[in-house]
Structure formats: structure tokens, C-alpha cells
């Protein structure tokens, strides 16, 4: 169990170092996902099963998808096309895949031998966490929900563009944007991200 902990810890540190030194954002995000998964394995070896599952679902799932969505939305232009080509080459994903393979091997080892996690550190199950969460920490749950609501409203406000910016454009320009041939021309040039950008600004 301690060996699993140290291997996962080494993977986490290595993946984080690589993630923060990449120049390409998408590469960095791939390594960051591996780092978060490694931290989830660390949680599992510490006996915190519930939190390990949450780490995978919320951090490595939802938050990383948000990051990737924004990176795609940022319309990196001509770099996006060559990035696509790089993604298809094996040299790109071999690094994250190798680090993730270490984690998979570790998980398989744990499953095969069937040892209960957290023999030495005490196992804290989800039931205990739930009882504590909605018992003495109930006010914290409410505060977290208010914080999430604030985050939602803040993100909506920041992402909201003024409608008069688009309405003040001349009518000819708007028709040009709406023109299907224009969009088809952009699509034919292979810049798919720009097409999406046009569509969103058109609707707004």
C-alpha cells in the first residue's frame, strides 16, 4: 500500500512539473488531468474513497472540461490546425498515456490482490463524511451553495456581451455575417473554430 502511495505521488509530481512547463495549453491540460488522477489514487491509498471518486468526477472531469472548452473557444487560429495534426501523431500523447498507464497498473494490482485500502491509516467511509457534512457542518454546506450561486452569476455577468455592440453594426455587415456562403467559405478553409465564433456572435 505504501508502494502504491509513493508511485502515485511520484506520478503526480512529475505530471505537474511537465504540465506547468509546457508551452502548448492543450498539452499542459493533458498532463494536468494525469496529475489530478494521480492525486485521486493518493486519496484512495489514504483510505478516503469517497473523496477519491469526487476528485475524478469533479476535478478531472468537470473542471478540466471547462478548461478545454474555453481553450477551444479562444480560437487559436492557424495554430489550431497544426495542433490538430500534432494530436494525431503518437509523439504527442505518449507522455500522458505512459503516466496514466502507471496509474492503471497500480489500480489493477490493488484490485487483483484485493487488499483493503488504508490498513495503516484509518479508513474513513462515505457514510461518516455524509453524517459529518450534514451534521455539524451544515452551515458550511449552505455557504458553499451560496458561493456556487455567486460564481454562477459572476461568470454569467462577465461572459455577457452588450447587445448594442452587435445591434449598432450596419445592416449590410450583419447580412454579410449571416450569409451562408460566407460561412461555407470559412468552413472550407478548415477553420472550424471561426465558424462557431461567427455563429455565437450572430445569435447574441
Amino acid at each position: 500500500m505504501t508502494a502504491a502511495f509513493y508511485i502515485a505521488a511520484a506520478v503526480a509530481i512529475l505530471a505537474t512539473i511537465i504540465a506547468l512547463t509546457r508551452l502548448n495549453t492543450v498539452h499542459a491540460l493533458l498532463y494536468l488531468v494525469v496529475s489530478l488522477l494521480a492525486v485521486a489514487v493518493v486519496f484512495y491509498t489514504l483510505g478516503a474513497v469517497f473523496v477519491a471518486a469526487l476528485e475524478v468526477i469533479v476535478y478531472a472531469g468537470a473542471i478540466m472540461v471547462l478548461f478545454i472548452f474555453v481553450v477551444m473557444l479562444l480560437n487559436l487560429g492557424k495554430r489550431a490546425e497544426e495542433m490538430e495534426r500534432l494530436l494525431l501523431s503518437p509523439g504527442m500523447w505518449i507522455g500522458p498515456a505512459a503516466l496514466a498507464a502507471v496509474l492503471i497498473a497500480e489500480l489493477a494490482d490493488l484490485l487483483v490482490h484485493g487488499r483493503l485500502p488504508g490498513v495503516e491509516p484509518a479508513m474513513v467511509g462515505p457514510k461518516q463524511v455524509g453524517i459529518a457534512l450534514f451534521g455539524p457542518y451544515l452551515i458550511g454546506v449552505e455557504l458553499a451553495s451560496i458561493l456556487l450561486l455567486g460564481g454562477l452569476i459572476g461568470a454569467y455577468h462577465l461572459g455577457w456581451r452588450k447587445p448594442e455592440e452587435i445591434e449598432s453594426k450596419p445592416e449590410i455587415q450583419r447580412k454579410e455575417v449571416r450569409d451562408d456562403s460566407h460561412r461555407a467559405r470559412v468552413a472550407a478553409s478548415g477553420d472550424l473554430v471561426r465558424v462557431g465564433t461567427d455563429r455565437t456572435s450572430d445569435q447574441a
Binding site: L32, L54, A132, Y137, L147, L148
Partner: protein, 93 residues
Amino acid sequence: MLLAAILFALGLIGLLTRRNVVFTLMSIEVMLNAAGLAFVAAGSRWAQPDGQVVFLFILAMAAAEVSVGLALVLGIYHRFHVLDTDAASGMKG
């Protein structure tokens, strides 16, 4: 605990050295994650569920922070067309 300290230091270094807004946000994620790891390790050491409860709060906070931060990134990009934090240092509308 040592792992948490190392991850936190890495996140701090990334926050201080990188000038890309997206990388800054990623560094903050790493630092929050390290703090949560410290909580979970401590809670597991003394067999208390409090560590995991605090980690849940950190998780919710990170989610809210990331949504607002990424909206800010989009706003900065639409205004300056770069992802450089120095470009937005003027703080003048």
C-alpha cells in the same frame, strides 16, 4: 504531507513565473488541490471525517473560482486578443 507541500510549491512557482492567464489558473488549481490533499491526509491520519468535509468545501470553492476565472479569461481575450497578464495590468476600462 510532503507531497502536498511539493505540489503547493510547484503551483506557486507556476503562478509566479508563467504569464499566460490559463496557466495562472491551472497553477491555482494545483495549489488548491495540494491544500485539499493536506486536509485529507490529516483527516485520514486521525481517522476523522472532517478532513474530507473540508476537501468538499475546497472542491466547491475551486469550481466557483474556475468558472469566474475562465469567464475573465474570455473577457480579457475579447478585449486584448492576447492571453498575457501584463496586457491587463493597466486596470483601466
